[in-house]
Amino acid sequence: MATATTTERGALAHPDVHQLGDVNRDVLKILGRPGKGWWMLFLVAAAGVGLFFGSWGWQLYEGIGVSGLNSPVGWGVYITTFVFWVGIAHSGTLISAILFLFRAPWRQSIYRAAEAMTVFAVMTAGLFPLIHVGRLWHAYWLIPYPNSRFLWPNFKSPLVWDVFAVTTYFTVSAVFFYLGTIPDIAAARDAATGLRKKLYSVISLGWRGTDRQWHHFGKAYIFLAALATPLVLSVHSVVSWDFAMAIVPGWHATIFAPYFVAGAIFSGVAMVITLTVPLRKIFGLEAYLTTKHFDAMAKLCLLTSLIVLYAYLSEFFLAWYSGEEIERTAFWNRLFGDYWWATWTMLTCNGLVPIMLWFRRVRLSIPALFVISIFINIGMWFERYVIVVTSLHHEFEPWAWGIYRPSLTEMGIMIGSFCWFGFWFLLFTRLLPPVAIAELKEVLPPPLRKQTKEARA
């Protein structure tokens, strides 16, 4: 079993990794027979997927009325969770594409998991607009397609932009994910037998690892990275415009696009920490996922947390500074109104708890980071809840003010969506190498490369 010891900050020692082949051994071992822990998690996730589709089916059968939505709160947990998952999706592309372009070497061991997280998070997020519409069977009308009635979607509506943003993001991130995995699938193919070998043979697209293939691979990878990079910024900007383009006090703000992008990266990195900590533990990847990586992710969290906190404070400040009574009431209501608990949860989890990341000891402690990352996940879900619900429930017309209480069906779908995501992620850890074998080899410390040469000689 490989174990990592940190001799000094950032430096890696791989006592059990003696040659490059050991990397294959340690990573491909994960694809072997699953342990008890994996099966337990998988069964929980599968049950949750049942809950997810069961609740959704119930809603389709009975009508959207089984949610707690009402007038004036027409969007609730569904849109909250949609934005949450789109946000989660962001750090995957950030880590794999932007950090690749900036040559940040610490991304190598986490980017595969982060990319998989992106693809599955978009798959989850993309279901929520379908869940929340009243007539699912007509949702395809949002897609521009030639039809005999000459009807097009309304390109002024941010919801139509959303359709483009989310589908584009899903396509690009899925292709990027798949492309980057090809050399590793080939490695798995070489180690596998039977049905798995056949499957890997097909999806590795005849990868042999020749110089020519590596050359093409490198070019394609960097092009896709460049293509995916603007999406990190654009997709969540578009999602933020669902709100910013409306006139609802609390939504109608120019700060929304950068605020949402920072929040997305914040929540996404936190989710990567939440996922990689157990991954590292269960599959014994301590040699490859070291405190150096977690330290880097924690710093990214800290930076984005500060941006998000700044956005919160500037929203409150500008509401006061505008002198506009309705805007002021909306933000006063946010802090001290019916949903004060959601706002204070958000401020605590996203603004106060990450302050601990200033301390190096906290950043180097994996249990502490895990707990903080859970807090951030909760806080970022509540951030969207606060934006969606508290803004809608106290709008312009006081007579129409109302209260929204999420129903059991909504909670079932929300919790089920985490299981749906976990279901795919767990399958991923069994079927594809969750750590990038080829890229890890590139960054192994020089002595190791030397040992490999010696071993060959």
């Binding site: 009308w141 007579w399 109302g402």
Partner: protein
């Protein structure tokens, strides 16, 4: 108690006549086959056969013959042949007859001083005087079995589907009672358990209970709802009128410890100083300076950088709006078309809510039931907002109650339109904000972005589940019945607009009907005639003249530039407007 209950026929299935106003006789003939479920007979036929079987026939076998006989008897030879006149009347539906206005006269001569009334005698020694009053919705209870009436919010309490006892907030506070607490109201004659609703407009030493609740056996919608106020009253009859005495007892009020959520449609009773339902003092009327052009300088500054040109928020006939430069490509406004607009005089509006139910009947608006109302899902297209303003800040109970019938404002610059992803809501060339039900996907974005919150959503299949056969026969055939997952809202009674337009075109009068020819259901039912509808582009129309006054304003327009087609005329108060005046 009745021994026999017989189904009657609907007016569409039966013969009849009426006199809607003096000098006009209207004749009614069946317009449809009788609904087969009931195998009913019209009342007239029943009476005729009862009379015949009991040995005193009335000279006709069917009510049709009886009706014809009566008209034949009333026929004057001067008008020509009866058969021809009868067919003429059937064709037209009405016939004008000279009316002898003085034929009636008082039934009995009234002698001044002949009536004496006793001062109310109050039983018991409770803390409160019990006021029992007929309900504006149920009368004394005879309309309680109508879901339309049950779902209609009470004009003042805004509570639906259940009873409540009205109490002054101070009286409640001193007894530790909060709104929604279920209390036992007991008199020497009985007691009821009922939730409290606090109302600063009632005396501190009185509680009030409306009639119409607590039916034991009154059909599907009326039974076992609320409490019967009569349980608390003694059986005392007033002389000489013979009427039941409703001011007859004191009651004590004790909390039961239980609470319930009131099925109210109220959000906030305070308009938070927003320009929603302002008022003007009588003394100031005539001295209110018309809003001058340029009063919205701040907004006009924006014009240079692509901002809006605001419509003057106060006064001024908006026949030209949306003004040049304020269009956002939502719609073009071709020449020769009307721009439909409405005005509501808040000084005439009593909050009676007749318009709410008239609209519900006309536009096939479903009722949703008590639970759904508590969730905030009532579907009325007209909502009468009721705000309190204090006449004198030092007396919390000196109330100025403001009513505001809120409907879709048919904004010239509508926030709902650009956000709909599929153009299910759009602007017609006649300035109406239209909703296409069968294009709606149900994202609810339009409702979120509507500052007036007038869009209502079909959360369930209310139209199927709440309206079982044969009640679905009541649907207006001119209006779509909406399915679940679809947004809807006031259409300005588009079916009536189209009907009048088509008639006008067919009769060669042009596309725009005569002023006053189109009457939306709310206007038609308003007893105070507070609602005016018409083409605001025609400077001689009634709407254009009504809107051109110093009391005119448009809700929230000065803040968010929605350019509504609905104008309101401020309420006039005798007292000085100390709050909620906005000017």
């Amino acid at each position: 108690m009745a021994d026999l209950i017989l189904p009657d026929r609907h007016f569409l299935e039966s013969w009849g006549d009426s006199s809607p106003r003096a000098g006009v006789v209207a004749l009614r003939q069946p317009a449809m086959q009788p609904v087969p479920h009931f195998d009913g007979k019209q009342t007239g036929d029943v009476l005729l056969s009862v009379a015949s079987r009991s040995g005193s026939p009335l000279g006709a076998v069917t009510f049709y013959e009886y009706l014809r006989g009566r008209h034949r008897a009333a026929h004057r030879p001067a008008s020509g042949d009866f058969e021809a006149a009868w067919h003429r009347m059937l064709k037209r539906g009405v016939s004008e007859v000279p009316e002898d206005r003085d034929a009636g006269g008082p039934l009995r001569a009234f002698e001044r001083g002949a009536l004496t009334f006793d001062a109310p005698m109050l039983d018991g020694d409770g803390d409160f005087t019990l006021l029992v009053h007929p309900s504006p919705r149920f009368g004394a209870g005879e309309f309680s079995n109508s879901p339309w009436m049950q779902e209609l919010p009470d004009p003042v309490s805004k509570i639906t589907w259940h009873s409540w006892v009205e109490m002054h907030p101070d009286a409640a506070e001193s007894r530790g009672i909060r709104e929604g607490d279920v209390v036992t109201v007991s008199s020497p004659h009985g007691s009821v358990d009922v939730p409290v609703w606090l109302y600063p407009g009632i005396r501190e030493d009185a509680v009030a209970l409306a009639m119409g609740g607590g039916h034991a056996d009154f059909g599907r919608w009326g039974s076992d709802r609320g409490v019967n106020a009569m349980d608390l009253l003694p059986a005392v009859v007033e002389q000489p009128s013979g009427a039941f005495v409703t001011l007859a007892t004191t009651v004590s009020v004790t909390p039961t410890g239980r609470r319930r959520r009131l099925a109210t449609t109220e959000g906030s009773d305070d308009q938070h100083d927003r320009p929603i339902a302002p008022a003007v003092a009588l003394a100031e009327l005539g001295h209110v300076a018309r809003e001058e052009e340029g009063a919205h300088g701040e907004l006009q500054e924006l014009q240079g950088v692509g901002g809006f040109v605001p419509v003057p928020a106060e006064g001024g006939a908006p026949e030209a709006f949306p003004l040049e430069g304020s269009r956002h490509g939502q719609y073009a406004e071709p020449e020769g078309l009307a721009r439909w607009a409405m005005a509501v005089d808040l000084d005439k509006c009593t909050g009676c809510s007749a318009c709410v139910t008239a609209c519900q009947a006309e536009n096939n608006v479903p009722w949703v039931g008590e639970d759904q109302v508590m969730m905030g899902r009532e579907m009325h297209w007209v909502r009468i907002e009721r705000y309190y303003e204090h006449v004198d800040a030092s007396h919390a109970s000196h109330l100025d109650v403001r009513f505001l019938p809120m409907i879709c404002q048919h904004c010239g610059n509508a926030p709902c339109e650009p956000v709909c992803p599929v153009f299910a809501t759009y602007h017609t060339p006649e300035g109406v904000n239209a909703q296409i039900y069968n294009r709606c996907v149900g994202t609810r974005y339009c409702a979120n972005n509507c500052p007036y919150k007038v869009r209502v959503y079909n959360w369930y299949r209310y139209t199927d589940e709440n309206v079982p056969e044969p009640m679905n026969w009541q649907w207006n055939p001119d209006v779509t019945v909406r399915e679940n997952g679809v947004m809807e809202k006031c259409s300005f009674c588009m079916q009536r607009i189209r009907d009048a337009e088509n008639r006008s075109v067919l009769e060669g009068r042009g596309k725009i009907p005569a002023d006053g020819e189109i009457v939306p259901a709310c206007q038609q039912s308003c007893p105070a005639e507070a609602i005016v509808f018409g083409n605001i582009r025609d400077p001689n129309s009634r709407i254009a003249r009504v809107v051109d006054g110093e009391r005119t304003y448009r809700v929230l327009d000065e803040l968010i530039n929605t350019q509504p087609a609905v104008s309101y005329l401020k309420k006039v108060t005798f007292h000085e407007v100390v709050s909620g005046g906005h000017e």
